[in-house]
């Protein structure tokens, strides 16, 4: 009886110290992509979010599917916020929504098994999904103003010269 109790207590402690699973996950996310990329070489995609679970779990290990690679999600040191972030070069960055699928430990194990078989991991239902929208960034004017000015000057000169020729001819 005593040994059974010890085992039960130890296993309960084990459950408490390792990561918990999340019931009814709710996510509050903010995302950031730079709007002005004139001075940048790469665009940053940053999503910060908090996870609330109806069963009160706080130490949930999450894994994110970022551009096809599934990796653990970084957290703030106090554990309250999660962050998913990566950078892409200016040329490679495409406008639009980037969905990020977040998995818990079970989901991650399932995705790993599917990836080992070279199959599509989108069949595994994620715990929760967030999105980063990249509307594009300003990389400078289409045409330099001095080029536009020289074009206008040439146009005005051409009009004046051709009408003068038309008059004096």
């Amino acid at each position: 009886m005593k040994s059974f109790l010890t085992v039960w207590v130890l296993s309960a402690l084990l459950v408490l110290t390792t990561a918990e699973s999340c019931a009814n996950p709710k996510v509050q996310a903010t995302s950031y992509t730079p709007a002005d990329a004139e001075v940048l070489t790469h665009i940053a995609y940053i999503a910060e979010f908090t996870l609330t679970c109806s069963n009160g779990a706080t130490n949930v290990n999450l894994f994110a599917d970022i551009n096809g690679a599934v990796m653990p999600v970084i957290r703030s040191q106090d554990g309250s916020k999660y962050q998913v972030s990566w950078t892409e070069s200016l040329k490679a960055a495409k406008k639009g929504d980037r969905p990020i699928r977040l998995y818990d430990e079970e989901g991650f194990a399932a995705v790993k098994r599917i990836l080992e078989r070279d199959e599509d991991p989108s069949s595994v239902k994620p715990l929760v999904q967030i999105e980063i929208n990249y509307p594009g960034a300003y990389t400078g004017p289409w045409m330099k103003s001095e080029h536009l000015a020289s074009l206008m000057i040439f146009l005005v000169f051409y009009l004046a010269y051709s009408s003068k020729n038309g008059l004096t001819a």
């Binding site: 730079p34 001075v39 940053i46 957290r75 972030s85 950078t87 400078g140």
Partner: protein, 216 residues
Amino acid sequence: FRGIFASHLVSSHIMPVSRIALLLCVLVWPALVWGGNQASTGGSAGSNAQARLLVAKQIQNKYLVEGKDIVVKYSLYNVGESAALNVLLSEKGFGEQDFDVVGGQMNVRLDRLAAGANHSHVVVVRPKRFGYFNFTAAEVKYQPSEEIQTIQVGYTGTEPHQAPIIALRDYEKQFSSHMLDWLAFAAMTLPSLGIPFLLWTSSKSKYEAIARSKKD
């Protein structure tokens, strides 16, 4: 019990199956345990397998300009043989009086970085002032393996060490589109073009009116 075994030994030289099984179990079990121990601690290196983290901090900007974003990327690589546990990355180099943090967390934790794996973390800051700035290293702390309890402390390699943050006025002088300046220039050249043109059109229309009245 002893009697049963003794009688078996006496009766035949061939060992019964049950005895072979028992002997095998006794011999094989410690080998399995030892082998298992080896596998969990990383094999050839014995029990000395450790994680070793290399962390790079890159500033992905063409120029550093006051009031414009600076993208800082931290790349973590585990080149050791064991997973690094409880990796803490702390960046204290972008103080509140000099920088606004626009996106990302400065002090973060990664529970586990597997051997041979890499990870990245991005922070975006905006400088509040211009001038020369010392870019310092971020600190990384981690537990090299499950058995080793002492925390390993490392620092990222930084580049550049001291770099100028350009004042917004100087940056705009060189790189802005100057549309307003050109429109002002066009407005200023308008008198020297417009006045002769107006004189010409007024005299032209006067003569055309005279020619028309002569025809009539």
